[in-house]
């Protein structure tokens, strides 16, 4: 009897730790990655956001969002990436992703979808940056004609998303920028710039006479905004005596039938604009020289364009898959870099989903999404050569680039 009891106790003691171990402590592995650059790339094969970390150039994550991404943009403090759907489905959604940057550790973690919200025909970002109202992220809903301001410093998955709404003049396609105290909203179809008082939401005025308003930029030094219209661009002041006034009209250099679509910041106060569709011409205006006037730069039929952060280079990707580097001030051709096979056929991007390649750059390195080849080209602009290709499959389109040094500078 005594032996049996002892045997049972021994058996129990030897068995028990297995259960304890099952709920015991485990080693927690750090997911921090010490990357210099993180690219977020919209893959419109299936609507995922592909994350590539550099210098390794590895695809580190794929975050699933709703298909048909039209816009990919980071918010002002680079904590979030907004992925907005195009209109080729009957449900308009905006997903808000974390960028994964850990401000304390100064390294990147895994990005993830924080929440997805319904937004009626979302828009508003410019140059891959979210629109803001008083420092808060804002989405312009083109169907409901509203500016929806997300009044939360931190967005999480379970708290109520506090919003403030500004009513706009009419449903339209908008081009938006925030001024000192007013909000300036260009309306494409209605052809005017609506000016709202940021504090009250009341309409201050409408600056009319800009049919088919499409594309805008800002001259930071003067605070003036430039909106492109069908036959010319209008310059609108935002500061002091200029505020909410039509300052000038700049006619296009010749009757090409094409207005400015988007602007690229060159060196100094030079602005370049490319036209709708693939035509071999860029317009140039020096905003330090009044009266303002356009000149033109002949370029190869291009499928995408951008300028470097410092405005030093104007980058023009041709349909033949060649990246042309022009001087950001005078437009002189500096070099040509073959980056891909030609883009076959017509590449008309409508509002259904993004299909065009994109170009981003940082510190002399450019990243181009080669939609037709399912990969990203990493290009050394100074050396004029492709460093490598990163295969991601699918159809990569929009790119948002986050550089660690920029994130750290901004947080200090």
């Amino acid at each position: 009897m005594y032996i049996r009891i002892i045997s049972l106790i021994v058996l129990f003691i030897s068995y028990a730790p297995n259960h304890v171990l099952g709920h015991g402590a485990v080693q927690r592995a750090s997911e921090l990655q010490d990357s210099e650059i993180r690219l977020f790339v919209a893959d419109n094969m299936n609507g995922s956001v592909v994350v590539i970390d550099f210098p390794d150039g590895e695809v580190t994550h794929r975050v699933s969002t709703s298909p048909s991404i039209m816009i990919l943009a980071s918010n002002k403090d680079n904590k979030y990436i907004y992925a907005m759907r195009g209109r080729d489905t009957d449900e308009d959604l905006t997903s808000i992703l974390s960028t994964g940057f850990d401000m304390e550790e100064k390294q990147f973690r895994k990005p993830h979808v924080i929440r997805t919200i319904k937004t009626d025909t979302p828009g508003g970002p410019r140059d891959s940056k979210m629109a803001t109202v008083g420092g808060y992220d804002a989405i312009l809903t083109e169907g409901e004609a509203e500016v929806v301001v997300i009044m939360s410093d931190d967005i999480d998955g379970y708290s109520e998303l506090k919003t403030k709404r500004y009513k706009l003049a009419a449903p339209d396609h908008y081009h938006y920028l925030e001024g000192e105290t007013y909000l300036y909203i260009g309306h494409l179809i209605n052809g005017f710039v609506q000016v709202l008082d940021r504090s009250t939401g009341e309409e201050v005025k409408r600056i009319k006479g800009c049919p088919m308003l499409h594309g805008m930029t800002e001259d930071e030094e003067s605070g003036r905004l430039i909106f492109s219209c069908a036959r010319d661009v209008i310059v609108v002041g935002t500061l002091g005596a200029d505020k909410a006034k039509l300052i000038a009209r700049i006619p296009y250099p010749e009757n090409t039938g094409r207005g400015c679509a988007a602007f690229l910041k060159g060196e100094g106060r030079i602005q370049w604009c490319y036209t709708e569709g693939i035509i071999p011409r860029l317009y140039r205006v020096d905003l330090s020289q009044e009266p303002y006037q356009f000149t033109t730069l002949s370029v190869e039929s291009s499928i995408q364009q951008n300028s470097t952060d410092d405005g030093k280079y104007l980058m023009v990707l041709s349909k033949q898959g060649v990246l042309y580097l022009y001087h950001g001030r005078d437009g002189n051709l500096i070099k040509k870099i073959k980056v891909s096979e030609p883009f076959l056929g017509d590449w008309f991007e409508d509002v259904g989903k993004a299909i065009l390649p994109d170009i981003e750059s940082h510190n002399g390195i450019a990243y181009i999404s080669l939609t037709h080849e399912g990969r990203i080209a990493e290009i050394d602009l100074e050396q004029g050569k492709v460093k490598r290709y990163i295969d991601i499959g699918g159809f990569p389109t929009r790119i948002v680039l986050l550089a660690k040094e920029t994130l750290i500078e901004a947080s200090n």
Partner: protein
């Protein structure tokens, strides 16, 4: 009365011409993506040896459609006839399409893919077809 109709007609023509040349309208319009080419690319992507009855039905609709071009009809016909590869006669017709279209056009690309088809689609051609479907 006749004068009014004339003015109305000219007015409508003016609106049409202005709309056509208004690039910004293009940018935000549904470009009526090339549905016929996409339909044929869709068939070719999964084609193994010869088209199925369902695929032939799709291709027949291209032949029957009034909006199909002659070049598109030649391509559709050639796909219908595929038996492990295109027929000699169809290859000749496809060559005419290739010679008469811009090398970077989707019609040209599709014609080349159909002409060189052999039992299945190569990885490179599959990517080209997927891209045609993707961008429309």
């Amino acid at each position: 009365m006749n004068k009014r109709i004339k003015i109305l007609f000219l007015g409508m023509m003016a609106v049409f011409v202005a709309t056509f040349f208004q690039s910004n309208i293009f940018a935000h319009a549904d470009h009526d993506k090339d549905a016929i080419i996409i339909k044929m690319a869709d068939v070719m992507i999964n084609l193994e040896h010869f088209p199925t009855a369902d695929e032939k039905k799709k291709l027949q609709s291209v032949l029957d459609s009034v909006s199909s071009t002659d070049q598109e009809k030649i391509i559709a016909n050639a796909i219908i006839h595929i038996q492990h590869g295109s027929t000699v006669e169809d290859k000749e017709k496809l060559q005419i399409v290739i010679d008469n279209t811009v090398a970077t056009s989707t019609v040209n690309t599709l014609a080349k893919i159909v002409q060189s088809f052999s039992h299945g689609i190569s990885k490179t051609d599959k990517r080209k077809l997927q891209t045609i479907k993707f961008k429309g």
